[in-house]
Structures are given as structure tokens and as C-alpha cells.
Symmetry: C2
Subunit: 142 residues, 2 copies
């Protein structure tokens, strides 16, 4: 999907467990200015329901599993994250919804910038309007 990608990180496995390292600019295509994580989500709860104008993010599920629904004006995809060595890169202008958080699930996000409410698009119709031109011009390449 345009502006989205699954990234595979190096997973250093030993008898003492797994260590996965993410270096900015090397393992993710941006500078990490902020990280955040979501825990304690009830299984029937859904989160997200927004897009970003400029922010780049990578989402990683560190325990349990979480489903992500990605939407653009021309496409919809669903991805299950359940492997700490796999990151879902989401660039600008992608609508995301997170659901089916299993008990004890942990969603870690590395973000390219500090928090700014101005960068959010929280209304879906407004999102479709803002993203329309970008995706119509890219649809022939998808």
C-alpha cells in the first residue's frame, strides 16, 4: 500500500530471549523524536481513527497481537502484528484503526516528530477530501 511497508528488524536470539534494536535512519527511514506505547486495551476496544499530515511512524507489537486497519481513499488493508521483529511503517495521509488487542498486548510506536495536534486529521470525511488528490495521482502505480 502506498506510504506503508512492513519492515523486518534484526532479531538477536539467544538462550536468554530476543533482543531487537531499532536505530534511527538505519532501521527506520526517519529520525526518532518520540516513542509511545499503548497497553491495557480491552479486547473489544478500538483505537486510532485518524491520519497524520506529515508524521512518519513505525508500529510494533511487542507482546500478544493487534490488528491494524489501513485505509486510503482507494484501498483498505488489514494487518495482524504479532512479531516484535516486524514493524509496520505508516507514512503521511494514511487512515489507521487498531483493534483486536489481545490480553497483555503491547503496541510500541516510534515517531518522527514531537506530538502536535495540528498534524492530526480526526474526521474521516475531511481525511478523504485531503488525501484524494495524493492517492488518485498514485493509483496507477499501485
Amino acid at each position: 500500500m502506498y506510504n506503508c511497508a512492513l519492515l523486518k528488524f534484526k532479531d538477536i536470539v539467544s538462550n536468554d530471549g530476543h533482543l531487537t534494536s531499532i536505530e534511527e535512519r538505519i532501521d527506520v527511514p526517519f529520525i526518532i523524536k518520540r516513542i509511545y506505547y499503548i497497553t491495557g486495551v480491552a479486547q473489544d476496544a478500538e483505537r486510532g481513527f485518524h491520519a497524520h499530515k506529515t508524521l512518519h511512524q513505525v508500529l510494533i507489537c511487542l507482546n500478544g497481537s493487534i490488528k491494524i486497519r489501513l485505509k486510503t481513499p482507494i484501498k483498505e488493508e488489514q494487518i495482524k502484528l504479532n512479531d516484535p521483529s516486524v514493524g509496520l511503517y505508516i507514512g503521511p495521509l494514511i487512515w489507521r484503526e487498531m483493534f483486536d488487542f489481545t490480553k497483555g498486548s503491547v503496541l510500541l510506536v516510534a515517531a518522527s516528530d514531537h506530538y502536535s495536534e495540528d498534524d492530526y486529521i480526526r474526521d474521516y470525511n475531511l481525511y478523504l477530501d485531503e488525501a484524494k488528490d495524493t492517492f488518485l495521482s498514485h493509483s496507477i502505480h499501485e
Copy 2:
């Protein structure tokens, strides 16, 4: 303990779970260049057993619980991490050992620099030697 501190992060709680955000320079006293996480550790396994010459790190337990043993030439402390809104800051020249990882536990670390093997001190006697002067000069303030 010198060069160590517990940091309390803002925990945004809603019906949809907890979100904790860590912005570089704001919520941690350094620029985040790398993050890494440790998962799938057996309960009887121990990790760490090193100090860093210059690296600054914050350790956060995102699920389950993990114990950290901190050592300097003059002191030893043990801390249990089990709250995603609490980070353990560890600065240079602190020896650390991690143990008692519960099933499903997740240890997230934000680090001030890229990986460099040269920054590690992995021999405890060498560590005592390198850290001795720093801690003897600080001991009167502790």
C-alpha cells in the same frame, strides 16, 4: 543512586487503555537515537552484566515485571519495574544486571546513541577499576 533515577511519565488513561508518550529531551534527558526491546526471556535467565562508558538509557517494563540490579564500586540497589509509566534512567558507569523476567514481560530501552561495542565494559573487575575514581569523588554527596 548517582547517575540513576526513576522517571514518571504522563500516562493518558481512557476506557481504551493506557498511552504513554516519551519525547526526546522533554521526558528523557537526552536525544533518542536508538530503541531496543527484550522479549521472550526465561524466568531463570539473567541479562545485562555490563556498564557503558558514555551511553544514557531509560529502561521501561511494558508488560509483566523485571528486576534490575544496579551496582557501583560503593553501592548496590535492586529495583522492580512493573509499570509502563515508570522509567529507570541509567547514566554512564553503572553496572546493571536484569533478572526475574516474568512470562510475557517486555523490557523497552531508549538509548542516547547508536550501538557501539567500544562503549561497553563487560568485565566486572575492569568496571570497578574504571569507575573507582568517579564514585569515590561522589560518595560524600550520596
